[in-house]
Amino acid sequence: MKNLYKIIAVSGGILISVMVFAQQRFPRPDFESGYQVPSPTAPEPRSASIEIIDVILLFAALSLVTWFVLKKRSRKGILYTTLFSMIYFGFYRNGCICAIGAIQNVTLALFDPGYAISFTALAFFVLPLLFALFVGRVFCGGVCPLGAIQELVILKPISIPVGLQKALSLIPYIYLGLAVLYAATKTDFIICRYDPFVGIFRMDAPYHMLILGGSFILLGLFIARPYCRFLCPYSVLLNWMSSSSWKHLSITPAECIDCKLCENSCPVDAINKPVSEPVSSSRDVRRFLLLVVLVPFWVLIGGYIGSKAHIYLSRANHTIQLAEMLITNPEVRNDPENLDVQAFLTSGKTLDELINEAELIRENFNTGGWWTGGFLGLAFGLILTGKTLFRNRKDYTPDKGNCVSCGRCMTYCPVGTPGYEMLIKKEIESDN
């Protein structure tokens, strides 16, 4: 046994040293003047072996949170895992690669034959989805660093009016559609560019991003997990997986006693209340059928609008920006401070070639606009249709799609607590 500990200690030491020294294959020059090399805003590349460890830790964290949620039912355990995730995946790994940004890597791999997605990016994309399919959104509950930082700053969560909440929940679909569109057209990774928390993790970002991150933190004090609920594009995919999960967090460990103690316990308003009686009428049925029939029209309308907006959307592409600038303001060629234009002019590429390239990209945006708009139309149509369905429920249950498996509600449920057990015991004794 002692030898085993020695082996583990030595292996751990070697791994740690590999981690330390793997960071810099080419050490920075030693400045005698005391000059400090500024840290880059993008994290330095990591060695492949370290990335394997990241994947292993991701799997381990997901498994741990699953255990805390389903078996141990321990809010504390989830919280400590959340803290570890924020420190490791957030501050230590500088928030990169994350599962949310991996959407773009996967998209680019699908659309660009020349792009080879790394195993890490693929694993970070797939593993949380697999877990969500089987056990719910445990990734959100205790592993996602963005969720973790928001979870830890929740102070006094307030409920948002239900209408506003449902309307804002459409935004992740739009963000997902645009992120896929821009990644597929090799324009930009907008999820990474506009990640509000990565600047905090790296302690370095443009000022407007730091302010955005700070604003989300401040907002998160009172509106729980605002990014997760109203922006995160990955939440769309997790929602789909989790809605049909095999197992899921339950508020009560046994039968719900309808004590209503958990009713306002969820900071993200993801608890479904009991529905005492079915309320379907023929009018409701007609409404439902109408909305179902309208879904293809939503798809067409969305696709049409998406394709019409392709000129506007494509302007985020650098090649198109450059071509349009040279066309509309040809005098910019004489501006020596415009580095983009000067780089182009000295590249040997002709304006004709640039415009041809830009036109091809714009054509891709036209096609992509149809798909993105169609997807949004479909999503909106189905969400609207879903808002006509009534389900008979007699217990308080978490909404499988929206519940982030943070475990707060579990602490409110008295069932299974020593106090409750004692109460039951007394009742039984008094009955006897």
């Binding site: 103690l261 309320v279 609207l384």
Partner: protein, 622 residues
């Protein structure tokens, strides 16, 4: 610790952490603002010192001052950066303490949540949700549609613009491919019809045949009055036109002058054979024109437009006429590029009137005393470099090529009243070339070059006579004409010889040496061009073969002119390359002006007139 004490402690901790966070935040924002103001790379003081150093390179004290200032500025900058970084850590730390303290406070004071007494029925909740969702969908789709319809597809308009890139660096490689190109009809018999007889009012040099006078244009000629042109009311004859130099590239814009005794040797810096030299009063790239003893040109900037008249013998200014108070349509004035300016088009005169046009679209007609006859605006041209097509004045018609990004147009105004006689919309894109007027058979044709076509119009009616689609890109060079053949060209497009007719016939094409700005000139079976990369080429006008070429140190923007059996080609350094008009290269001289030039020379008997960027020169025997 009892809960109440714990609550008080955590609340106070949170309060202090909150105040501390606010203070740090404010200090960081101030620091950031200061940092933005004091970028060492943008320091005005540093700029001034560096400027001083440019003028006084040996000043060691100044160099030391610059070094010290630079060091201080950088130290201050990096210190502030460090302060921001440290502040960031402090802020994060205090925020962590704040949040932690508040969490403990709220957890110690939390009560069991009461169920919401005003429970919304599920049906109502769903109805509200549907309404909000639908509203947001309509809002989002609406915004997307508005953005879509307000977006201009600039790429779709690129066909008007693409094709040519201006030279920017000595070592830049320009490889712009032709965007559209129409091949000549392969079944056409491309041959040189040497026997074709064409009655032209063509201008040949004094070694060729004398021009044939057109009976229709023979007018009663009154006695000419020295110094000011003819005291006449009727339009001058072709003979009179050819005796002067009344428009861009001489009579009818063909690049051929009949004048004699033109100097071949001068030196600007030493003053050799410089009769006079006067400062250009206002910037402009137009070329001087001459009628009798008057020399005319214009100058303009974004505020002022002026027509000048100088005595060509003495260099004294006779009059100047500011062109203002012309009513313009609403809209922003064009912003021409620096290498075009506001006064690129050359004036035209017939001895009675002087017509000028500017980049603003203002056209003005003055009499020979400098008084305005009329002035009007043709519509503010949508021209990204600046309007530069010059004018031709013929038989009381002011002929204007007015191609811009919105449409191609050619028009004729009555020179006496400014009223439009005719206007023809052309199937062409924007162009910077100037028209030429030729006679083919017994009719005159106004020939215009643009992309994609070279076209001829009846100057009296404006009706299109023929057109050939053969050019592309941003067309700068004007056409040439000789022996009944039209020559048109553009850089990265082609050099093409067209035999006018119904239908016109393409005789040959070449793409070896092509000019960007300078217009070609042809006479006696020879065609001369000057390229913007400094090559002067003589082609066989009959078959497009290159007979000889000459490399210069500098590019050529001015157009070559044939005069007195010689070809005068002026490069941008002000060096005139004078060749014998011959199939064999014979360089006769390379006199230097000593000043940069882009304008085409003007000629009169015994003199030539050069407009540099700063001065106008009269060259001749003193």
């Amino acid at each position: 610790m009892n809960p109440i004490t714990k609550q008080k402690l955590t609340l106070r901790t949170a309060f202090i952490a909150g105040i501390f966070s606010c203070i740090v935040c404010i200090i960081m924002l101030l620091n950031y603002w200061q940092l933005r103001q004091s970028d060492p790379l943008e320091s005005k003081l540093m700029e001034n010192l560096v400027q001083q150093l440019e003028n006084d390179r040996q000043n060691e004290a100044l160099k030391e001052e610059i070094r010290n200032l630079d060091l201080m500025a950088r130290k201050a900058y990096f210190t502030k950066q460090w302060q921001i970084r440290a502040g960031g850590y402090l802020l994060v730390g205090s925020m962590v303490v704040l949040v932690f303290a508040l969490r403990i406070y709220y957890s110690t004071s939390s009560r069991i949540a009461e169920p919401d007494p005003s429970d919304i029925p599920l049906k109502t909740e769903l109805l509200i949700s549907r309404r909000w969702i639908l509203s947001l969908i309509i809002l989002l789709f609406g915004m997307a549609l508005i953005a879509a319809f307000l977006s201009d597809d600039h790429l779709a308009r690129s066909y008007e613009l693409v094709g040519r890139e201006p030279s920017i660096e000595e070592n830049a490689v320009e490889e712009i491919t032709v965007r559209t190109r129409l091949e000549p009809d392969p079944s056409a018999d491309i041959k040189m019809d040497a026997s074709r007889e064409v009655l032209t009012d063509n201008i040949t040099d004094e070694t060729g045949t004398t021009p044939t006078e057109d009976e229709k244009v023979r007018e009663e000629i009154s006695e000419s009055i020295p110094g000011g042109g003819t005291n006449r009311t009727s339009a001058p004859s072709a003979e009179e036109i050819t005796r002067n130099y009344p428009s861009f590239r001489g009579p009818f814009g063909l690049g051929i002058s009949r004048h004699t005794n033109i100097p071949v040797d001068w030196d600007g810096p030493s003053g050799k054979n410089i009769v006079w030299k006067v400062e250009v009063p206002m910037q402009g790239y137009n070329s001087p024109v001459i009628w009798d003893d008057h020399l005319y040109f214009t100058g303009a900037d974004q505020n002022i437009q002026v027509v000048y008249c100088y005595n060509r013998h003495s260099g004294q200014q006779i009059w100047q006429h500011p062109v203002s108070d012309i009513q313009r349509p609403s809209g922003n004035l064009p912003k021409p590029t620096d290498d075009t300016g506001f006064a690129a088009p050359t004036v035209a005169t017939d001895g009675r009137y002087i017509a000028a046009i500017f980049a603003s679209g203002d056209v003005v007609c003055l009499n020979r005393e400098g008084s305005r006859q009329w002035g009007k605006n043709l519509g503010i041209p949508d021209n990204h470099y600046g309007h530069s097509s010059s004018l031709i004045l013929w038989r009381d018609l002011l002929l204007i090529q007015y191609d811009d990004n919105s449409a191609g147009k050619v028009m004729a105004l009555d020179i006496k009243t400014g009223n439009e006689k005719w206007s023809t919309v052309r199937k062409s894109k924007i162009s910077w070339a100037s028209p030429v007027l030729v006679q083919i058979g017994d009719q005159f044709e106004l020939i215009l070059s643009s992309s994609p076509q070279v076209a001829a119009y009846n100057p009296v009616t404006g009706k299109e006579i023929w057109a050939v689609e053969c050019l592309s890109g941003e067309v700068g060079p004007s056409p040439a004409f000789s022996d009944g053949i039209v020559y048109a060209t553009n850089e990265y497009a082609t050099l093409i010889a067209i035999e006018p007719g119904s239908p016109p016939e393409i005789l040959w094409e070449s793409n070896e040496y092509l000019p960007e700005v300078s217009s070609p000139v042809a006479a006696d079976g020879l065609l001369f061009i000057g390229t913007s990369y400094g090559v002067i080429v003589c082609y066989d006008a009959g078959n497009g073969d290159i007979l000889w070429e000459h490399e210069c140190d500098q590019g050529i923007y001015a157009s070559p002119i044939i005069v007195e059996g010689k070809v005068y080609v002026l490069d941008m350094d002000g060096k005139m390359h004078i060749f014998k008009k011959d199939a064999v290269k014979t360089l006769l001289g390379e006199p230097e002006l000593g000043e940069a030039t882009v304008s085409t020379p003007a000629f009169a008997d015994g003199n030539l007139y050069l407009r540099g960027l700063e001065n106008i020169y009269c060259i001749g025997s003193k």
